[in-house]
């Protein structure tokens, strides 16, 4: 049953795309590890780190698309789930530093010593074990999504009001995590990580494995998402997106559908955030900035809302452009982002993937006419 469930949503294009994602995640790390730095096929570590980061962003975009593209919930706070997963990973990595910190305290992370903490806050207990931190990466964002979704969907908050609530949520978390009393590093967040599962986070081999893990996570998320949207649940889900009250009058309890995808999506965003943190080496409250969530929505819009390939493509295009422009022409980036948003809204309502299938469709029509 599970196999059928996992395969039902996949068409040929998606299968090829998932293989492509996995190929990137396997070939690039292998080239980095096996080729000598002098070889033209050598992939430098910074490229691995960059690709790993993009893969995490792509997972976040897919999570956003699952709720926005397939269920019509325009979330403007999804980066909060990403950041919460990241903080869980950050807490684990902080505890791994042990007595190698600047102050050499075997239990308390540096920032706690600096802020005169006498003992570890209660919610830090357990985070020295990976077996504890790993489920927390899923549980913490899911519980927040469950609580927010439970109240919002039951009260039938929809549309722009729901968007505002999600935006307020991430902003509230931003303010909360800025506070030193929060016990999570305040303004500076957490950094100077040393080990993950006993391996140095700085080592090239670790980076290679992290890049592969990010690709694997994205591939798994694609398979799960395809199964969900391809099931009868998925048909009901898009029907909720298109005509919610009609579904209620057909006897569907719409809240359950919304809540399930919202929580699933938050869990995916949390895992993406957790894989992101060891690769960038820092987690701080700026990850909760409202702009981050809006950017994630933009990736989906650029790539193609309501498709599974679209958000991944969008995340790569926009972030590659961001990396390039913030390096080459830093003052232009925000204008370029704004222009992109306007251009996509006006000319590419179905995103890059939509444009591609439109062009292909036209080609096929021409062929059909010719024959």
């Amino acid at each position: 049953m599970i196999t059928r469930f996992l395969w039902q949503g996949m068409d040929r294009n998606l299968r090829l795309f998932i293989l492509l994602v996995l190929a990137i995640g396997i070939v690039l790390p292998l080239l980095n590890q096996l080729m000598p730095p002098t070889s033209p096929f050598y992939v430098p570590s910074w490229v691995l780190q960059l690709i790993g980061k993009y893969l995490c962003y792509a997972s976040l975009a897919l999570a956003v698309d699952l709720v926005w593209g397939y269920c019509g919930i325009l979330t403007l706070g999804h980066a909060a789930f990403f950041a919460l997963g990241g903080y869980c990973m950050g807490m684990y990595l902080m505890r791994q530093i042990g007595s190698r910190g600047v102050y050499g305290n075997p239990v308390l992370p540096d920032f706690m010593v600096f802020l005169n903490y006498k003992e570890l806050p209660w919610f830090w207990h357990g985070f020295n074990h990976f077996w504890f931190a790993a489920p927390m990466i899923i549980i913490v964002p899911s519980v927040l999504a469950l609580a927010l979704g439970w109240f919002a969907f039951r009260s039938r908050v929809t549309g722009v009001y729901l968007s505002i609530i999600t935006q307020a949520m991430t902003f509230a978390l931003l303010l909360a995590f800025f506070r030193n009393d929060m016990g999570l590093g305040g303004n500076n967040g957490m950094t100077d990580f040393k080990d993950i599962l006993g391996f140095s986070v700085q080592a090239d081999a670790t980076r290679a494995v992290l890049c592969f893990s990010s690709a694997l996570a994205l591939a798994i998320f694609l398979v799960i998402s395809a199964a969900v949207v391809g099931s009868r649940f998925g048909k009901a889900l898009t029907a909720v997106r298109d005509a919610e009250s009609r579904m209620r009058f057909l006897g569907y309890r719409v809240e359950g559908y919304k809540l399930f995808v919202f929580v699933l999506s938050a869990a995916m965003a949390g895992i993406a955030g957790a894989l992101y943190v060891p690769q960038v080496g820092i987690i701080n409250p700026s990850e909760f900035a409202p702009g981050n969530s809006i950017e994630a929505v933009l990736w989906v819009a650029v790539g193609g809302r309501g498709t599974l390939i679209g958000p991944v493509v969008g995340a790569f295009i926009v972030n590659w452009a961001k990396t390039y422009l913030t390096g080459a022409l830093p003052e232009v980036w925000l204008f370029a982002l704004g222009a992109l948003f306007i251009a996509v809204t006006l000319f590419l309502p179905r995103g890059v993937v939509g444009l591609w299938s439109q062009l292909r469709g036209r080609g096929q029509v021409k062929k059909a006419v010719a024959t």
Partner: protein, 254 residues
């Protein structure tokens, strides 16, 4: 689904008694009482603002009455249930505008409407059963849309969408069907066809039609309830009510 709470039992399929709904002090329904017998088709007419749509909202669980009883099928107290529960009990609603799921195929539209599975947990892993496929084939035959079953609903013509929606109502198989202004914006010929279709459906289902087109109601030829300012003004055959001086006054002005 919550168990239908026990209310006063009655032989009527739909029983409204003393129903009052007010919005910010304005009484959209004012002590309205109404009985619909099993198998009956009833037309409800009234000028704009008479409370026709509010009455439908109360019956389908969209609006909660401030006072009064709403009982379905003798036992189910509709004031305690939500839209999904009420739909599962067997009350279907057709909206004024044809509402099909535009991005779904004709077949998927019918599958979504098909009586049965509604829980998200079960739908995640459910494959259509043989019984469901047979029923779909049967309905596709009735509405004569086998050839279009894999076509996206958005690409259907207006008339095909109406047929599809009727197919969805058949798939839902409600005991009672509420139809909201089915002939708004229709030509005379289309209006006549719609009346025929509703009479057809009425052979196997009870129907309540809300309308303010007197000619259409005359074509239906069923018992008529006239609403005015949220209460019942008159009830009887179309000839009886149109001869009633109070009805004439409401419709033609003072």
């Amino acid at each position: 689904m919550k168990a239908p709470t026990h209310a006063r039992s009655t032989s009527a399929l739909l029983y409204l008694s003393g129903v009052t709904v007010s919005f910010d002090g304005f009484k959209a329904l004012n002590n309205l009482s109404l009985l619909v017998e099993p198998g009956e088709m009833r037309a409800i007419i009234g000028p704009n603002g008479a409370g026709k749509t509010t009455m439908m909202d109360v019956v389908t669980g969209k609006t909660r009455p401030d006072e009064g009883e709403v009982v379905f099928d003798g036992t189910a107290d509709l004031t305690k249930l939500d839209e999904a529960d009420i739909a599962t009990l067997g009350i279907g609603r057709k909206f004024q505008k044809p509402t099909v799921f535009e991005n779904h195929t004709v077949r998927d539209n019918l599958l979504l409407a098909l009586a049965g599975l509604r829980s998200w947990r079960k739908l995640l892993f459910a494959a259509p059963t043989k019984r469901e496929n047979d029923r779909l084939a049967e309905i596709l035959g009735i509405i004569r849309m086998e050839a279009q079953q894999h076509m996206q609903a958005a690409r259907l013509s207006h008339g095909q969408k109406q047929w599809l929606e009727i197919g969805m109502l058949l798939a839902q198989d409600p005991k009672l069907l509420l139809v909201d202004e089915p002939v708004a914006g229709m030509t005379d010929v289309e209006t006549e066809t719609t009346a025929q279709v509703l009479r057809e459906i009425n052979r196997t289902h009870s129907v309540v039609v809300v309308e303010h087109d007197m000619n259409f109601v005359r074509a239906l030829g069923v018992k008529v309830t006239v609403l005015h300012e949220g209460s019942m003004l008159a009830e009887g055959s179309i000839d009886q009510v149109s001869a009633d001086p109070r009805v004439v006054e409401v419709y033609l002005g003072r």
